[in-house]
Amino acid sequence: MSRVHPEYDESRRLVDGSIRTADDGDPVLVGTECAECGFVVFPTRPFCRNCLSENVDDIDLSRNGELRTYTVAHTGQEGFEPPYAFGFVDLPEGVRLYSLLKGWESGTLEVGAPVELTLDEIKPDPKTGEPLFGHVFRLVEGDDD
């Protein structure tokens, strides 16, 4: 299965500068790393949040992370079809981020579960009704066969 939604185009990205498609066709999250102190932040920033240096560069973040916690919302914001899941994902770079979660069934989400990045629909644009896109983490399929 492609990790990038077939209708994705950059003009309909929900959070600017947070994600892009890499040369291999798969999505990557974009963060900023500080050359002075090594602090990594997501999404990108023009200077370091930790030491305030402007000596920073955008970097590609890991596509694989670990689910820190999660919930399944049965009532939600407009534009989101319940039930929908979200949680916090830890990346090896020391970044923790909020994400919608897909590829789960009732009872399969758990703390510590491996998750992988996809670029998927988030919600319809409230003005145009066209889908907006962004990062969505998907449970890595277990091998508990």
Binding site: P43, Y70, T71, G76, Q77, F86, R96, L100, I122
Partner: protein, 391 residues
């Protein structure tokens, strides 16, 4: 008593609930009127006022909401400042009032909170709530207010095991307490099964684990200790009002732990010269039942993972060792976000004066209120701890 002592002279609260057809000025003015009458004070005695409020910026009274409310009770011609800190807004207003007296700037200062949440479009109300998270990634990508509690609950239960029955028992306790609170929003008689069978909101948080959205206002008159002693036979001393925010830059926060509460309560206990074992009555921020359970641990009433035992052995019941949320808490009293903090102060004052009617705790002398607001990457935006006593 030293000149630096600060005391609450009197408090007032409007009814909490769906105050249909009432503007913030109407129920806000009512709470302040009660507080002034209870303080034996004329309206021109108030030297400064701080008002906690979150949502008016998105509604009709978009600015100077404090002035609009206080005009109703003739409290005018003084500095009036609005304080916004999500669901902890009015404790932060109370803290500003406390600081201005402690620094000898003022003798009599008013702290109030007002919030109108019903009767506005649901999407506006929900946006007011989800807006207390990160508005770049979290809010736009579907995070909900109760979702934060659902995520904390799952992290907690992953580490310490299933506590869904104890969470339900917290809701049952708070609703039972709230039945005796005439100002409460929800007067519901519920049992554990009602909670466990109620509609799922943000797994494992169910409808009856969650507080309602309410309208309401609460007010407190603070004064320098010697002034308060002239005005009232029963001043309630403010022994500590501490607040802090999350760290956010660290990514190793454990969601099963109320680390922010731990830091704030340690400061407050030190300031007041007491420890958790000295408390007689406690109000905590139970926007969801898991919040209450985790605050037990954050405040040091129980160690990590042991909060549920306080529910199981009855310690936190109205007649228990350390009663928590005798008012009914946010769960039953309701949660008009900007008014909740001062409403907790109202309850402590009534409890410490023995004026709490059928929900009166037996002879308390030291009370604590904990109030939370907002979150970034799931870490608290603000937590406050207030300690009051009749020492």
């Amino acid at each position: 008593m030293t000149e630096r002592d600060v005391a609450v002279v009197g408090v007032g609260q409007s009814d909490f609930g769906e105050l249909e057809g009432q503007r913030v000025t109407e129920f806000g003015g009512r709470a302040v009127r009660e507080a002034l009458l209870a303080s034996n004070l004329d309206n021109d005695a108030v030297e400064e006022a701080y008002i906690g409020n979150v949502a008016s910026a998105a509604q009709d009274q978009t600015g100077v909401v404090g002035q609009a409310v206080l005009r109703e009770v003739g409290v005018t011609g003084i500095p009036i400042t609005r304080v916004e800190n999500a669901c902890a807004s009015s404790t932060c207003a109370f803290r500003e009032a406390y600081k201005s007296i402690r620094s000898n700037e003022r003798d009599v200062v008013l702290a109030l909170g007002v919030e109108k949440m019903t009767g506005v479009p649901t999407d506006v109300a929900l946006k007011d709530m989800s807006g207390a998270s990160d508005a770049e990634v979290e809010g736009p990508m579907g995070m909900t207010f109760m979702g934060v509690y659902g995520m904390r609950a799952n992290a907690y239960m992953d580490r310490f095991g299933d506590v869904r029955e104890e969470l339900a028992d917290i809701a049952v306790k708070n609703h039972a307490n709230g039945l005796a609170n005439p100002h409460a929003h929800l007067h519901l008689d519920v049992d554990r099964d009602d909670v466990l069978e109620s509609r799922m909101v943000a797994d494992p948080i169910r409808l009856l684990d969650a507080c309602p959205m309410s309208d309401g206002a609460a007010a407190a008159v603070l004064a320098r200790g010697d002034v308060a002693e002239q005005l009232s036979d029963e001043p309630v001393y403010v022994d500590a009002v501490e607040a802090s925010s999350g760290h956010y830059l660290d990514s190793d926060l454990e969601y099963w732990r109320e680390e922010l509460d731990e830091r704030v309560s340690e400061q407050a206990y030190r300031e007041a010269g007491i420890g958790p074992d000295d408390l007689d009555v406690v109000e905590v921020h139970d926007a969801a039942t898991i919040g209450e359970l985790m605050h037990y641990e954050g405040l040091g009433l129980a160690s990590h993972g042991k909060g549920a035992s306080l529910v199981r052995n009855g310690d936190v019941m109205l007649d228990g060792r350390i009663p928590v949320n005798p008012s009914g808490g946010l769960k039953s009293r309701g949660h008009p976000v900007g008014a909740t903090g001062v409403a907790q102060v109202c309850e402590l004052v009534w409890q410490l004066r023995g004026e709490a009617g059928d929900r009166q705790v037996e002879d308390p002398t030291i009370g604590l209120a904990q109030n939370s607001g907002g979150a970034l990457v799931g870490e608290g935006g603000v937590s406050t701890v207030t300690i009051l006593s009749t020492r």
